[in-house]
Assembly symmetry: C2
Homo-oligomer: 154 residues x 2
């Protein structure tokens, strides 16, 4: 189930490692719901329209991977809900990036269904790349990749 891919030197790409976690249509949607506050099994099942066996499987994996955790929300009978761990919350930039891309390139004419605002002032937020050295924003074309400390031996 693991160690399936001898190609595409995994050290070369943290994206490959991230994809092992969220490289699945349902997983992304489950996480989206987790951010929206949908956390219970049945809520997720009906909201997503996912088969229950798949939902169980995906939740199990996400818990195993440390992205979600089971938290009891009642006793007798004990029932759990699935909450994002800090590691899960760290996926928010990725989810947001997908949302913004969907807004821009797959959105209707009416505008985005959801907009992200600064909780303290209520104004809209942008997701940007920042060069702290220059103190400026950088667009996609101003980005360059360079080998980091954990780069390939090849």
């Amino acid at each position: 189930m693991s160690a399936r891919d001898p190609h595409s030197d995994p050290a070369e790409s943290s994206i490959a490692r991230a994809v092992e976690v969220i490289g699945d249509r349902w997983t992304v949607l489950i996480l989206r719901d987790a951010f929206r506050g949908v956390r219970r099994f049945d809520e997720l099942a009906t909201d997503l329209g996912i088969a229950r066996n798949l939902l169980a499987d995906r939740l199990r994996r996400l818990v195993d991977q440390g992205v979600l955790q089971k938290v009891p929300y009642q006793e007798r009978p004990t029932r759990y809900e699935y909450r994002l761990t800090p590691m899960g919350i760290d996926l928010s930039p990725a989810l947001v990036a997908l949302m913004l891309w969907g807004d821009k390139h797959r959105g209707g004419a009416e505008g985005p269904p959801l907009s992200l605002v600064h909780s303290t002032c209520g104004h809209e937020l942008d997701q940007v790349f920042l060069c702290r050295h220059c103190g400026e924003e950088v667009t996609a074309l101003g980005i360059r990749g360079r080998p980091g400390p954990g780069a390939r031996p090849a």
Copy 2:
């Protein structure tokens, strides 16, 4: 092939629409390679270790969806390579977010295999949320969602 999901009101989520494009393990890796400059069929096939029929299928979809385009790189015989369209380039924040998450939560002790730098100054870049009104950076916990113009009728 389309219109498969009556649940999870698609208007509620551009993430769902984005996932129809990139909600697949291979698709994400193909795009990563496209950003890295790997653009030819055989290069992709051997670099990723993907089955050739799947690669052909994924490339076809990405082209149909306008994320990649076929560009001839030689004649006689005419051969094409797959390049990112502007729409495809707009996926970079999502790919970067995944990479940074992978670096942080799935990385080895040696540090990230790839680091992103500002092409003009060579210093490292951060991906952040910015409130232009307050002029400050906002963390994940300072983000709130609110219904946008295209929100659900429910």
